[in-house]
């Protein structure tokens, strides 16, 4: 079985995000970019399936600007076998929306024939949480979202999902789309020997047009603003006063 893992290049989670002065979005010029952390978890899970003998090949795909090939190289250094880069934008500030991504992924799935797609549950830049679900709908495949455990066994997969207030275990038919939650695994680091080996692994380059998908945005960003600055706290003199204040603001 082949496993396909889509990976997105996003602003690094350690970077303090700055909103562009015109409010059109976040400043990404000369900012450290990394693989979306949920996608790292997805890549790790796919590699573990391969190590467990349940998958033969791990293919990673990224859709976006040319620089996303660095993200793919990271995935290859972690242990993916080959990569596909779909160039869909020139400007680092252009985000490809989930529907367009899902359409391109559908075409990639049709060309590659994987038995499983593992995606991150969401990308930390726009937090859409939609691509996996849309891809499932477009392909008519089963979906297991927010996975914290995944066990593939022949035609079925058992997935533990992180739902509000607890865990839900479901059994779904393969082929399937699984989206990774934070606790699915702890992704490995790319070691230097593997970074060097990754350079020799195949990386195919395509464009959105190759798949006949129109990536023109359908959503309009009306405004982007910084989170409100945290207002200053106050000092209280005693536990009683603290409890009284908390009651006053309805916190207890």
């Amino acid at each position: 079985m082949k496993v396909l893992v889509p990976v997105k290049r996003v602003i690094d989670y350690n970077v303090k995000v700055r909103v562009k002065s015109d409010g059109s979005g976040v400043d990404l010029a000369n900012v450290k970019m990394s693989m979306n952390p949920f996608d790292e978890i997805a890549v790790e899970e796919a590699i573990r399936l391969k190590e467990a003998g349940k998958a033969d090949e791990v293919i990673v795909v990224s859709i976006g600007v040319k620089q996303a090939q660095e993200t793919l190289r990271t995935a290859l250094a972690m242990g993916a076998d080959r990569a596909i880069l779909v160039i869909a934008a020139d400007d680092v500030h252009q985000d490809i929306e989930p529907l367009a991504v899902a359409k391109i992924l559908k075409a990639v799935v049709e060309a590659e024939g994987p038995g499983l797609v593992i995606a991150g549950k969401q990308a930390i830049d726009n937090d859409m949480n939609a691509t996996g679900q849309m891809l499932s709908a477009l392909l008519g495949w089963s979906q297991g979202t927010f996975a914290s455990e995944l066990d593939v066994d022949g035609d079925t997969a058992v997935i533990t999902r992180e739902v509000d207030g607890g865990l839900q275990t479901i059994k779904i038919k393969m082929p399937a789309i699984v989206t990774a939650d934070l606790r699915l695994n702890e992704p490995r680091y790319a070691s230097l020997p593997n970074i060097m080996k990754a350079k020799k692994k195949p990386l195919d380059e395509k464009t959105a047009a190759d798949f006949g998908v129109d990536v023109t945005p359908r959503l309009e960003i009306v405004k982007t603003t910084e989170p409100a600055a945290r207002s200053a706290g106050i000092k209280v003199g005693s536990v009683d006063e603290l409890v009284a204040k908390l009651k006053e603001v309805g916190a207890v």
Binding site: K32, T74, A77, Y189, A190, L192, P193, N194, I195, M196
Partner: protein, 389 residues
């Protein structure tokens, strides 16, 4: 510190990719454990294996020994990123291989490469370098530990001191006098001595800083060492030791300005947050000038070090110029570290004197980098002789 985008003359995509991976690794696997390791006085073996798996010990070693054959900028990346944990003892302990292993990698027999260099690169074994003696460290030519030939063995007697990783090391690269007739440089050779050799004694030393590193005093009492453990040619030990020092000094320079940067970041965050006399400390002119002085010196030390590495990789200078500039860079960077540690502790006020801040620890670790790997005075002597002053 302001983060510059990588100068592409120096750092390729590979360097940057490894830097990113290492940074995540250090943030998660190293920095949170520093207090526990400092208290324990040594590093757990597992961490050597973990950094071995990351490829740290083999960055600049040949691929046939399990290394990655990176250039010296890869070594710089390693030392900058490990130093972000803010604990010199951690870096020293994890880095003892970088002085213990190269003589074997560069001059050792195939047998030594397989038996010693490879498991060290893999992180399965720990390597240390033992040159300094109680009778003197700077004057390497005067060392007294002797190795007398007895059939196919050397009988080694003597003492070594201040040896990093000395308590845990599996393999010691030891400078010994193999020719008692030759005083000075000529009679010195490198021997690989296994940690479990009968007659080898170890005592842990307590130190001002670098607590996580197990520094030891070693005694050799009639240790029998196979002649096949000779590293390189007999009598070439001094020359090989000197070559080893150049790389060590550049590594120390990069550690020193990186620790300075840790101090700078801590002091800046503190000064911007701490309110005194109605405004943040960073708004007091005397404090902001201090912070600028710190950034200025770090930038200069780093830029100088990069330039030396680049020019060395591209063989742009005669060796004497390289050695002189390396010596000067070591002083520049360690002076920068002293300045920044001092300024950071001062800016942190009483908090800077308390354990738990990186600046407090680094303040205690400034001296060792101005002494180890060649003292400031020896660096100035060397620079002046190399420049014909």
């Amino acid at each position: 510190m302001f983060e510059l985008s990588p100068n592409t003359h120096y750092f390729s995509e590979d360097h940057t990719a490894f830097r990113h991976a290492l940074r995540a690794f250090v943030d998660k696997e190293i920095t949170p454990n520093v207090p526990a390791w400092e208290d324990a006085g040594r590093m757990p073996r597992e961490i050597f294996k973990k950094i071995g798996d990351m490829g740290v010990q083999g960055v600049i070693c040949p691929t046939n020994l399990g290394g990655s054959n990176g250039d010296f900028f890869m070594q710089i990346v390693v030392s900058e990123e490990l130093s972000r944990c803010g604990a010199g003892g951690v870096c020293a302990s994890l880095g003892s291989h970088s002085i213990g292993n190269p003589p074997i990698v560069n001059h050792g027999s195939d047998d030594l490469k397989t038996r010693v260099a490879m498991p060290v690169i893999a992180g399965d074994k720990i390597s240390a370098l033992a040159i300094t003696e109680p009778g003197g460290g700077s004057d390497v030519g005067a060392l007294r530990t002797n190795a007398v030939r007895d059939g196919d063995h050397f009988i080694v007697n003597g003492e070594k001191t201040f040896i990093t990783s000395g308590m845990q090391a599996d393999f010691f690269t030891v400078a010994v006098r193999t020719d008692a007739q030759k005083a000075g440089h000529g009679g010195i050779s490198f021997l690989m001595i296994e940690g479990d050799t009968p007659g080898l004694g170890r005592t842990q030393l307590k130190k001002m800083g670098w607590w996580a590193s197990d520094t030891a005093h070693l005694t050799f009492d009639n240790c029998r060492v196979p002649v096949t453990n000779l590293i390189g040619q007999e009598g070439e030990g001094f020359k090989n030791a000197m070559m080893n020092f150049n790389a060590e000094r550049l590594t120390i320079a990069s550690q020193a300005y990186s620790f300075a940067e840790v101090c700078y970041r801590e002091a800046l965050a503190w000064a911007q947050d701490r309110q005194a006399f109605g405004k943040p400390l960073s708004q007091q002119q005397v404090i902001r000038h201090k912070l600028v002085d710190m950034a200025m010196k770090i930038d200069a030390a780093k830029t100088l070090t990069y330039d030396i590495v680049y020019r060395h990789i591209h063989k742009m200078d005669p060796l004497n110029v390289h050695i002189a500039r390396t010596s000067m860079a070591k002083i520049t960077a360690t002076d920068t570290m002293q300045f920044c540690a001092d300024a950071a502790v001062q800016i942190l006020g009483g908090m800077g004197y308390m354990q738990g801040t990186a600046s407090e620890r680094i303040y205690r670790e400034t001296k060792v980098l101005s002494i180890g790997g060649g003292t400031d005075e020896i660096m100035r002597n060397l620079a002046s002789s190399q420049l014909g002053i």
